[in-house]
Amino acid sequence: MESSKVIHAFYTDDEVLMDAVKAVKAEHHHIEEVFCPFPVHGLDKAMGLAPTRLAITAFFYGITGLSFAIWMTNYMMIQDWPQDIGGKPSFSWLENMPAFVPIMFELTVFFAAHLMVITFYMRSRIWPFKEAENPDPRTTDDHFLMEIPVHNNEAELTALLSKTGAVEINIVDKH
């Protein structure tokens, strides 16, 4: 199943790329990867990528932050040292709740934002000393690269891709 060679087809236009992706999908070829210099809207749908669940994780991270803030204010202000500071009621958490709202809000945002971004970095495998994996430096400038694994059908694939407007087609060893 694992192929040792892949086709790299280059495009210079996002709309041509979209049509090419659709054509390749219509021919039931597996698209290994598409590298783009900017987000091409609708490309993920055309490729058939599953939607990302990062927003859902952010929601749960936010809940975690809110719970942490509630626990912290309650433990420190109500349980551990229930002092009278300026006449504020410290008998129960709810009585002094309005003063905790800013903290609860900020911690919700803090947890949701940072943990989601960290999740994104982990899932997409990007971090400071990570080596870039785009096969061609032009893909961060103005070229779009479609990578398709080859299974002894090089001629057929090349013909298909050149029909879709690829400006350059290379067959390379899979790295």
Binding site: L49, P137, K163
Partner: protein, 484 residues
């Protein structure tokens, strides 16, 4: 992308640009050498910064008494500058987050620099809560860290503690939002770099961004969620800053209008600062095709809107002060104290710079003029400084007890620290403009076909944006899923 765009919309990218032209234009200031003017500006800023650091060391070494504060006016320039800098920062998040939620394409050419401005302004703001402490070496006591004092905690009732949480959340979230947006642009610089050192640096900065379809899908979702989180965050941060005053019992401070009014003022002053900076930056970095007259005009419209909100808030405060029947409120707002008293100059500066001058922006000629925009934006920056100074110092100078009435005179240390923060800000901004892609190229490239001058003209003539190729097998167009 080929979709219907109303012909009434002016182009956002001027000239006959291709994707590669955008890359070249944005990479040029980074890959070229700095010119003489840059060094002059940098050394002036650096000198101001060092002077400011000297003043900070002097304050911390000698004591807060070297400032012009007295026992009645315990906050003046320190917190004025703090609120001013935080306010300036707010426009960046507004541009990158709120305008993203509203799908405003014109934000794309300015969001990177506006966010940089946010981060550098919040750095400056963050200095003041530390250095205005009498014992800044104990500053870490504001953090709820388990400790050897029987675990002595902080008091979560204080808006000053809320400030700690608000500012640190704001700074850190803005930073990751900005950095995540920078990854594709750093990757572009990395892939173009010819010098090995530059290549190494930008490889490190770009975190190995490769631009896969899945990465972009996640990238856009993360941007959207972060925008959704940053929008309430930006509103909450200045709200919390305003509560430093609004939750007090001082007449003139104790006011429920402060949270929205401070936020409006923050956007007002922040946009003014963006105008000041971009007015110069578009020229010196030759990015006039991206930061166009249209962008300047749109920002001026936001300025006149938020300036109007601020003006209404002033009027409301004065009306309520009269309406309330409280003699203290009455005195603070309506007495001769403000308009003709010892701070009359500050009061009238506020009215002139904040309320009167921005009204010129109603005129289209002025709104679309770079020179006028620059002058008015400077005026607003001055006016918004006076707004904070007036709120803080005038109110404190005449409190409930006449025997506590006193005046505030700043010393050279007060002034020096403020000048130092301005220097520090420009040091950071100048370095940024030389090393960072100042326009989000990945974003601008997405609007090139819908809002670029070249493509707009072509689509008016009925020429499709898609280059013609002989597509035999591929049927159907790419329109279906392209919203933006």
């Amino acid at each position: 992308m080929s979709h219907y765009e109303a012909p009434i919309r002016e182009p956002l990218v001027l000239g006959d640009k291709s994707y590669h032209d955008i890359t070249e234009d944005i990479a040029k200031p980074i890959e070229g050498a700095a010119n003489k003017n840059w060094y002059i500006a940098f050394y002036i800023s650096l000198a101001a910064m060092l002077w400011g650091f000297g003043c900070i060391f002097y304050t911390v070494g000698t004591g807060i008494g070297v400032w012009g504060l007295n026992k009645n006016i315990g906050w003046a320039w320190d917190i004025t500058n703090f609120v001013w800098w935080v306010g300036i920062g707010h426009a960046g998040t507004l541009i990158s987050a709120v305008l993203l939620l509203f799908r405003q394409k014109w934000r794309m050419a300015i969001n990177r620099s506006a966010e940089a401005m946010t981060i550098f302004a919040v750095f400056q703001a963050g200095l003041f809560p530390i250095i205005h402490m009498g014992r800044p070496w104990n500053a870490y006591w504001v953090l709820p860290i388990p400790n050897q004092f029987g675990s002595l905690w902080v008091n979560f009732n204080s808006p000053l503690l809320w400030d700690v949480f608000a500012i640190s959340t704001y700074l850190s979230v803005s930073l990751v939002f900005w950095w995540t947006g920078l990854l594709p642009d750093f990757a572009m610089i990395r892939d173009r770099a010819v010098k090995p050192f530059q290549k190494k640096i930008y490889s490190l900065l770009s975190f190995g961004w490769s631009g896969r379809a899945k990465d972009w899908q996640r990238f856009e979702e993360v941007s959207l969620v972060l925008a959704g989180l940053a929008t309430p965050l930006v509103l909450s941060v200045h709200t919390i800053v305003s509560m430093d005053f609004a939750t007090s019992i001082n007449p003139g401070w104790h006011s429920t209008i402060f949270p929205p009014y401070f936020v409006a003022g923050a956007i007002f002053s922040g946009f003014a600062m963006v105008q000041t900076l971009l007015g110069i930056m578009r020229k010196v970095t030759n990015l006039e095709d991206y930061i166009t007259r249209m962008h300047i005009e749109y920002m001026n419209i936001v300025i006149i809107l938020t300036g109007g909100i601020v003006a209404v808030a002033y009027a409301t405060e004065f009306f309520i002060a009269w309406y309330t029947g409280s003699p203290y409120e009455n005195y603070t707002y309506l007495s001769v104290g403000a308009a003709t008293g010892p701070y009359a100059w500050a009061f009238w500066s506020l009215i002139t710079f904040n309320i009167i001058t921005p009204q010129l922006l109603w005129f289209k000629k002025i709104r679309r003029s770079f020179i006028w925009t620059f002058i008015i934006s400077i005026a607003i920056n001055i006016g918004m400084w006076f707004e904070r100074f007036d709120i803080i110092a005038i109110v404190l100078s005449k409190g409930h007890l006449p025997s506590t009435w006193w005046r505030f005179e700043p010393t050279f240390v007060d002034v020096g620290i403020f000048i130092g923060t301005i220097g520090f800000f420009f040091v950071l901004f100048l370095l940024y403009a030389r090393t960072f892609p100042v326009i989000a190229q990945a974003e601008v490239k997405t609007i090139l076909k819908s809002s670029g001058e070249f493509y707009k003209k072509r689509s008016e003539q009925g020429i499709p944006t898609k280059p013609a190729i002989n597509v035999a097998s591929a049927e159907g167009t790419s329109d279906k899923n392209n919203k933006e």
